[in-house]
Amino acid sequence: MTTMIRVEGVAKTFVLHNQSGIRLPVLDNVSLVVDAGEAVVLSGPSGAGKSTLLRILYGNYRPSSGRVLVRHGGNLVDLVAAAPRAVLEVRRRTLGWVSQFLRVIPRISTLDLVRDPLLARGVGDAEATRRARDMLARMNLPESLWRLPPQTFSGGEQQRVNIARSLVDPAPVLLLDEPTASLDAVNREVVVGLVNDARANGSAIVGIFHDEAVRSRVATRLIDVTAFTPKGIAA
């Protein structure tokens, strides 16, 4: 299979300069490979570094050492060494981040928010509208809401708008940060279906899911991050 993510020798220590320079080693010697069509779920107790590792894969946290290679087009790009604008380009085309939180530009309609990623990747106007409408319907969002900006929606509705936007055109590498947290059972099923569809279409997926049932239905492989706990630190 095609390697989409290759992590080599990544370590992360937080240094809190304003708290007497205290050092918090969170991850050490992380090496892993994720292929296209795989769904890796990160497991381990709270505080073990799942979220830190996921953020490192997005280029949001900067590792203290090591490389994070992501296949972007034909190349493996090291997010740690790449220039900021190169990281942005990788995020735009290759890396998708799906969380439970919607933070978008106010005053833009729900339909336009979901159309936006399609248009940004060059999908035609009519096609983008059709796919966005299908997606919103699949997420069980009433059509009466589609013309409104989501700022006034309930938390659960906003979360579904966010997932619709994130998964309407799944990126080749998808990073999922508990996207199903606080969804009701019906919509949780929809998201599980969307994630599995994306994987079947070749996306490489790395995610955090606390819900045991969701995890077992999404994961093709579990990685226990306590394996990356720095020596001498209790997990």
Partner: protein
């Protein structure tokens, strides 16, 4: 990780634009013994939005004045890729040529709209003046452009003949933005563009700026002390202290995983950014 849910604003940013639009090389500005800014170097590519953050007195406004041609650096250079050819240092040009560039090639949005507007001239005149600077002479088309830009910055076009002094602070700031953008600059400098405005007015202005930067594919350098503004508007961030850049990187990296003691202090000092 707020940016994660968004398409990067620099949607026109492309690996096919190999040449930077703006390059600062060791820009230093001293005022006698006092430090303005020291050894600031960076490149800005078309469509990129760079934020400069730091407390007052950190040198960020001095830097902006140097980059935009308002203030000559003590040493260092500012290169600009003009469509007609690369200018290796805008301060090596004669005054007249540099003034010309400042009216057409880039724009400056001042913190206080009174510094960027002509208060005795109508709203339409404020916008039209930039077009006349550029050589436009046709009254009808200038007025048409003014009407279009008023609408674009969400000012009722019926107020085209009112003077800016009759506008609220938020409207004055939007008018200043229209005046700057009407001549089609590729680069815009903004100094605390939302400073001094009510929070609700700020939010509307931020929306507008974000949409304009995105739709027009503008490159911008935005100086602000407000990390939330930086988060919303910028792709990259430079953190300044005592005239020097202490940390730089992608905006979400710098704000979510600050490495320098001073950046950690800044990000820990706000409620939510």
């Amino acid at each position: 990780m707020s940016n994660a849910a968004l398409t990067p604003h620099s949607s026109l940013l492309s690996t096919h634009s190999p040449a930077p639009l703006l390059t600062a090389d060791r820009v230093t500005r001293l005022y006698g013994d006092r430090i303005g800014c020291v050894d600031v170097s960076f490149s800005l590519w078309p469509g990129e939005v760079l934020g400069v953050v730091g407390e007052s007195g950190s040198g960020k406004s001095t830097l902006l004045r140097c980059l935009s041609g308002l203030d000559r650096p003590t040493s260092g250079s500012v290169a600009f890729a003009d469509p007609a050819g690369l200018i290796p240092d805008i301060f090596a040009l004669d005054e007249q040529r540099r003034r010309g560039l400042m009216r057409t090639a880039w724009g400056i949005v001042h913190q206080n709209p009174r510094d960027g507007l002509r208060m005795a001239v109508s709203a339409g005149g404020n916008i039209g003046e930039r077009l006349m600077d550029r050589g436009d002479r046709h009254y009808g088309s200038i007025r048409e452009a003014a009407l279009e830009w008023l609408a674009r910055v969400e000012i009722d076009p019926a107020r085209i003949d009112d003077r800016p002094s009759q506008f609220s602070g938020g409207m004055q700031q939007r008018l200043q933005i229209a005046r700057v953008l009407v001549s089609g600059p590729r680069l815009v400098y903004m100094d605390e563009p939302t400073g001094g405005l009510d929070v609700s007015v700020q939010a509307r202005l931020l929306d507008l700026l974000r949409a304009l930067v995105r739709d027009l594919g503008l490159a911008a350098v935005i100086v602000t002390h407000d990390l939330a503004v930086a988060r919303l508007l910028t792709d990259r961030l430079m953190v300044m202290r005592n005239g020097r850049v202490v940390e730089e990187g992608l905006t979400d990296q710098v704000l979510d995983d600050p490495q320098h003691a001073y950046t950690q202090l800044l990000t820990a000092s706000v409620l939510a950014a």
